[in-house]
Symmetry: C2
Subunit: 213 residues, 2 copies
């Protein structure tokens, strides 16, 4: 009765293969610049056959988004509860970075959505980022009154998020410039080290930032 008695990893269904292809293409070219013909070509079928699995282009896009959101929901929600310490924030960031490293498509898709809109953009943003800005999720360590009393905290969260996501979306630009594959294992370690340094530096920062520029 099993699809395969040898391996537990079943052969992907056509719908899944369509999702895989569509995810890559939507992430690379955005919603409107992606043609269903391209998607079908990658799967190895004709474009009308796509309509046996998805109602239309927009429904396919929604399905891609849904799968990506589910994939990233775990690490993103992992900071709920407990004290927000330097260490915990870093491990949280590390998990997110590794997730984006393993699948860069969400960041790319999100960047396209932020730039050009596209269907369900507002809902997408809400579901991903609203939890990060809930008032009860404030960073309240010991040394870091830094952001709180200056109103910078949400912007700091935004900055670190940008740091992580733009590493993915800008990566192609740096492949040549840095002479290294941004998605290699050593590059990942480099990025993690850098984030760690920035985070430690910010957590330990005691300087005055009220002086006028």
């Amino acid at each position: 009765m099993d699809e395969s008695a040898v391996s537990t990893a079943a052969v992907p269904s056509t719908a899944e293969r369509i999702l895989d292809a569509a995810e890559d293409l939507f992430a690379a070219k955005g919603y409107s610049a992606t043609s269903l013909g391209d998607v079908a070509d990658r799967v190895g079928i004709r474009s009308p056959s796509l309509y046996n699995h998805f109602k239309n282009k927009e429904a396919l896009y929604e399905a891609v988004l849904e799968r990506l959101l589910a994939e990233f929901s775990g690490p993103l929600a992992e900071l709920d509860g407990g004290p927000v310490t330097n260490e915990r924030v870093f491990y949280w960031l590390e998990a997110i970075v590794r997730q984006h490293h393993a699948n860069p498509n969400l960041a790319r898709l999100l960047q396209h959505a932020a730039l050009s809109g596209g269907p369900h953009t507002n809902e997408l943003i809400d579901r991903l980022f609203r939890p990060m800005f809930r008032p009860d999720a404030k960073i309240e360590g010991e040394g870091i009154t830094l952001f709180e009393n200056t109103g910078l905290q949400p912007w700091a969260v935004m900055a670190f998020n940008n740091l992580v996501m733009s590493y993915v979306t800008m990566a192609p630009m740096y492949r040549d410039l840095l002479g290294q594959d941004p998605f290699s294992e050593t590059a990942l370690e480099n990025q993690l080290n850098l984030i760690k340094v920035l985070l430690h530096a910010v957590f330990e920062y005691k300087g005055d930032m009220t002086e006028a520029p």
Copy 2:
């Protein structure tokens, strides 16, 4: 002979108005998703008339790029020569941030190019960023052996650049979340403060970063 004897800001020529419209649209939707019909509509003419001013779509795109590069070449090249101190780096970053704030289109266009390619992408990247990674442009202050002896320095440059550019490209996402216009004057001050803090923090950071995660 002058276009206007009354005001030094002459009424923009049709070619310039086409460039303005095309810049906005290319920046918002990317190269292939932008139609010449949309451009013509914004200008208020029919799309065939565009060909009286530009050879084809690609030439129009090149012209947009050229104008943007010229607009940003000033601040970007301003760090050449002299010691690279904390203060100088910050004022350099501040100039760039203000430039992107005044015209966000270059960052958006660059992000599209990084994600989807498009004509002349490699040349574009080279002309903008190659100078930032010239070996003679190393950051060699006093306190900051931080990046040099760990090989992180180019990645740090990349990170701060990402910070600046993704503020622009991700801005639409944060408009709702933060309840503030990211391009307002106070938001600009916020971003500058945050960058200042990060930069100071990194410059003053004396921690150990050789420990294994």
